[in-house]
């Protein structure tokens, strides 16, 4: 009987032009989104390639230069001397820390257009290392990308609602509902069969299109973890879809007219997908205003001036803090590089409270987001999809901390040589610490994604419960 109703619903959907229009539209936007994602990740891949090539070329040139000097040549200038470990750490051998693209990267651009996926590691202070950005037109960043995640988070719910806004109201208005219910079938079973028919059609279509999109976007499904990530990507999409199906059912269960249902659902979509996220962002920014970077720059400038004035007095304190860096014998306080790094360290120490305030405010904002995100399945879904594509905030945050660790290692490698005024050689070039990205544990990602999916599912179940109870009071007449 359930299947009978489902089959009839399919027949109705198939006979109605809406489904075909929606299918073509969804296929078109999915493929367009996939091509955008493919272009973006190919671009990033190419950029990474350029960086790797530039770095190895630079290292080769440095090696050649070192060998030339060792063979009796003279350096090009005082400021261009690869024997100076400070200059090597600062420019000749400065290495790139790259965040590799995850297999599903073409499906969600996420934060990858805003947050750098590579840093050039030098002996600069951490603030300086992290301040660089990729070039991009700010208007592009403002608009965001038309990627598969955008289609899933914003457009796909609209497809569900467009097909389902008159699930019951349409039959009530056309008069078939009474005729159906004059048969031995209960309204809740009838509604369940109808919504199930929609679920099967929409999810089946989405699964097929998503697979096509992944292939079109150049996702290598053979890569380790790629297929299971794609399966999870679809899983999140499916659960997110269930939420909107349940909402459509609930709104229909109140027995209002189709036009009212359409307006109500559009309002709900707007609230959940647009208003709540941006209002939350605004609330977070108002509760935890991040101090202006302008203030930070000023603090660095003032601290820098004071530290420079104290100059050589800083050395004693510096080596008391960093005994591991202390060279044997005396440090030359007149040495430009030694002085510079000691001063920089002092500046970092001076502005630490401000940096801490900065980070505390950002953490504060993020904590508001963490709490409020449960209000919007769109936010949960977006975050989960980004997480699965490796373009979420958490992965970039993790990357930054990995890079921070590497920058410390880099400094620890070079500073003793700077203070000792070691002569850098071609052999030493082979012993440099290199960056390799240690990804977050798979458990961490699975935990975040699973948690989000579970929350969406829970809200879907709550809506279904509400719909079931509302259906009992469904006004068949009038």
């Amino acid at each position: 009987m359930l299947f009978r109703v489902m089959r009839n619903e399919w027949r109705g959907l198939a006979a109605d032009r809406t489904l075909w229009a929606v299918t073509i539209l969804l296929a078109a936007v999915m493929l367009f989104a996939a091509s955008n994602g493919a272009r973006w990740s190919a671009l990033q891949q190419a950029r990474h390639g350029e960086l790797v090539a530039e770095e190895s070329e630079r290292l080769e040139e440095t090696r050649a230069e070192l060998l030339r000097i060792a063979g009796g040549g003279s350096p090009r200038s005082r400021f261009n001397d690869p024997r100076n470990p400070a200059q090597v750490g600062q420019s000749f051998a400065a290495g790139y820390a790259l965040l590799p693209l995850a297999p599903l990267a073409p499906l969600s651009v996420g934060q990858s257009d805003l947050l750098p996926a590579h840093y050039k590691i030098t002996l600069e202070s951490r603030e300086a290392l992290f301040s660089g950005d990729e070039l991009e037109n700010p208007t592009n960043l403002l608009a965001g990308s038309f990627d598969v995640a955008f289609v899933v988070v914003f457009l796909y719910p609209l497809v569900i609602l467009a097909l389902g806004y008159n699930l019951l109201s349409g039959e009530k208005e056309s008069g078939t509902l009474v005729l159906t219910l004059a048969q031995p079938i209960s309204l809740s079973r009838f509604a369940a069969a109808k919504i199930l028919a929609h679920v099967v059609v929409v999810l089946g279509l989405t699964a097929a299109l998503m697979l096509a999109a992944a292939v079109a976007a150049g996702v290598d499904l053979g890569a380790p973890g790629a297929f299971s990530s794609l399966a999870s990507y679809f899983g999140v999409t499916a659960v997110y879809g269930l939420f909107w199906f349940s909402l459509a059912l609930l709104v229909n269960a109140f027995g209002r007219a189709s036009a009212t249902n359409a307006a109500t659902l559009a309002g709900a979509w707007l609230t959940l997908a647009l208003i709540i996220p941006s209002a939350t962002a605004l609330i977070a920014a108002t509760l935890y205003p991040v101090p202006s970077r302008v203030e930070m720059i000023q603090a660095v400038r003032v601290a820098g001036r004071e530290a420079s004035e104290r100059g050589s007095q800083l050395f004693g304190a510096y080596f008391a803090d960093h005994p591991e860096l202390a060279p044997e014998g005396e440090v030359d306080p007149g040495d430009y590089y030694s002085r510079r790094f000691v001063v920089e360290d002092e500046v970092s120490k001076q502005i630490a409270p401000l940096t801490e305030r900065f980070e505390a405010q950002i953490r504060g904002q993020q904590s508001v987001v963490e709490k409020f995100r449960y209000l919007s399945p769109a936010v949960l879904a977006q975050q989960a999809l980004n997480d699965l594509s490796g373009t979420g905030y958490a992965r970039f945050d993790h990357f930054r901390s990995e890079v921070g660790r590497y920058a410390d290692e880099w400094k620890a490698h070079f500073l003793p040589q700077v203070f000792r005024k070691t002569v850098f050689t071609a052999e030493a070039l082979g012993e440099l610490p290199r960056f390799s990205y240690r990804s977050e544990g798979a458990g961490a990602i699975a935990g975040r994604v699973g948690g989000a999916a579970l929350m969406i599912l829970l809200s879907a179940v709550l809506l279904l419960g509400a719909a079931t109870s509302a259906l009992r009071r469904y006004p068949l007449t009038g």
Binding site: E54, P138, A259, A273, L274, S278
Partner: protein, 470 residues
């Protein structure tokens, strides 16, 4: 007759619970966005003023050093927030707030505020502009989708037409009714905005009023387009339900899909180079020189001119400090490449923005968004205007320092020292904000699209109303 119809429409809408709820929510969001936007704008402006003053102090207190060292010490230029950015923050979250001005180099801007924000900002910022751009059109659709289609279904349309009411009077009356309902919402917001603006422009009146009036005009055209489209669809739709679903689809295309799609297409047609590419191309060309004239040749030619000017054979014999002179020549040499490459990059960005404006002919949101950001002073063009002024200032400052060395260092090279007296005489960066007409000059396509839309939609509504079937 028309006014009577409009009054009845307005009465119906204000009695409609849906309008009250939706209108109340929109009004609340509009006022909240204006209020919070204004307070944030005030904070940012205050921080900016403090920073500018403090930066000058730091510059003057940098201590004794050679002018060239001072040019390496450099100064930071801080981008002021757009005059009307409290209304439309535009790209401000995505442009760096500061640039370090030093000798030899034109640096990139640093610190995009979005990187310091929370992850939800990417869902779109809640500003008065976004409320007007996204929510107001939805409200219009909600108010007017059933204007004709609903009356046709309930049979009142037959009644009204049987009374001999002209179809076009009916259309105008309905349009005025919707406009009246919108005015109920917009009046408080306009009053608040005007008050904020008065406070904002109290000290610097130039162009603020003009920009505000143009903004108001832009939004009237935009919302007018939606009123026209909604009435046209309502008149022709077979049912109210069809009208609503169709109009919501139109909204999704215009307000949701088009901006992102246009951006991806813009990036595909006018690709943005990577920072690495940009830096490499700049360095390569600087190395190779223009038309085979590299730095050595450039310097040599200028040196010969200099020697000829002073009538000597050797730099040692010059009455000026040759090192200081040469620093400035190297600036001049390098600046050619910065001009070339930065304008190439920024032209590319502007080409992307222009492409988006052109998509405004298909989706008016892109036109109004472009125009609104521009008039609010928060678009890329205003950023570029600032960046170019900052760069010109960098060149003046570095030249001032190099010329001091050239004229006063004599035979001393790096041992030549200067102090606070000179630093105080150094030029001050005075940012000169562009006026409203300049802002408008880059928006010709957006303006054209924004004028075309309401005209075309009014025409459509007019035609549909004339053929209205009861």
């Amino acid at each position: 007759m028309v006014m009577r119809i409009a009054r009845k429409e307005l009465l119906e809408m204000t009695r409609d619970g849906r309008f009250r709820v939706a209108g109340g929510v929109v009004l609340l969001l509009l006022l909240t966005a204006l209020g919070l936007g204004w307070s944030r704008h005030a904070d940012v402006t205050a921080a900016h003023e403090t920073a500018v003053a403090q930066e000058r102090e730091i510059w003057e207190a940098q201590g004794e050093k050679s002018p060239h060292s001072a040019s390496h010490y450099g100064v930071y230029a801080f981008k002021p927030t757009g005059r009307l950015a409290f209304f439309d923050t535009g790209t401000e979250a995505y442009t760096g707030v500061t640039v370090w001005l030093e000798s030899h180099k034109q640096n990139q801007f640093l610190y995009r505020p979005a990187r310091d924000g929370n992850t939800l900002q990417r869902f779109g910022e809640l500003t008065a502009a976004t409320v007007l751009q996204l929510l107001m059109p939805l409200l219009i659709i909600l108010l007017a989708f059933s204007a004709f289609a609903g009356e046709r279904e309930s049979g009142t349309l037959r009644q009204v037409l049987s009374l001999g009411v002209r179809r076009r009077d009916l259309a105008i009356g309905k349009a005025l009714g919707v406009a009246g309902a919108l005015a109920l919402l917009l009046v408080p917001a306009v009053l608040l905005g005007a008050a904020a603006l008065t406070a904002a422009t109290a000290d610097s009146e130039s162009g603020g009023l003009m920009r505000t009036l143009l903004l108001a005009g832009a939004y009237l055209l935009y919302l007018g387009a939606f009123v026209g489209v909604t009435l046209a669809v309502s008149a022709r739709a077979p049912s109210a339900r069809f009208a609503l679903v169709g109009l919501l689809g139109f909204w999704v295309f215009v307000c949701l899909a088009a901006p992102r799609a246009a951006t991806d297409l813009a990036k595909a047609y006018y690709p943005t180079p990577s920072a690495q590419e940009f830096a490499a191309a700049l360095a390569d060309e600087k190395e190779a020189g223009i038309d085979g004239v590299d730095y050595e040749d450039f310097l040599e030619a200028r040196k010969q001119e200099l020697l000829a000017e002073y009538g000597v054979d050797d730099v040692e014999a010059l009455p000026i400090n040759y090192g200081g002179w040469r620093f400035e020549v190297s600036e001049e040499y390098g600046n050619q490449f910065f001009d070339l490459h930065y304008s190439r990059l920024w032209d590319q960005f502007e080409a992307q923005d222009r492409f988006r404006q052109r998509v405004g002919f298909a989706a008016p949101l892109l036109a109004v968004r472009s125009l609104s950001m521009s008039l609010a002073g928060s678009d890329f063009a205003h950023f570029r205007w600032f960046a170019e002024q900052a760069e010109q200032y960098r060149r003046r400052l570095v030249a001032f320092l190099n010329n001091d060395m050239r004229d006063n260092a004599g035979a001393a090279a790096f041992s030549y020292r200067q102090d606070r007296r000179l630093w105080r005489q150094a030029p001050v960066f005075a940012y000169d904000a562009p006026d409203a007409l300049w802002a408008l000059s880059g928006q010709s396509e957006a303006v054209a699209a924004l004028v075309l839309w309401p005209v075309l939609s009014a025409f459509l509504a007019w035609g549909a109303a004339a053929r209205l079937k009861p």
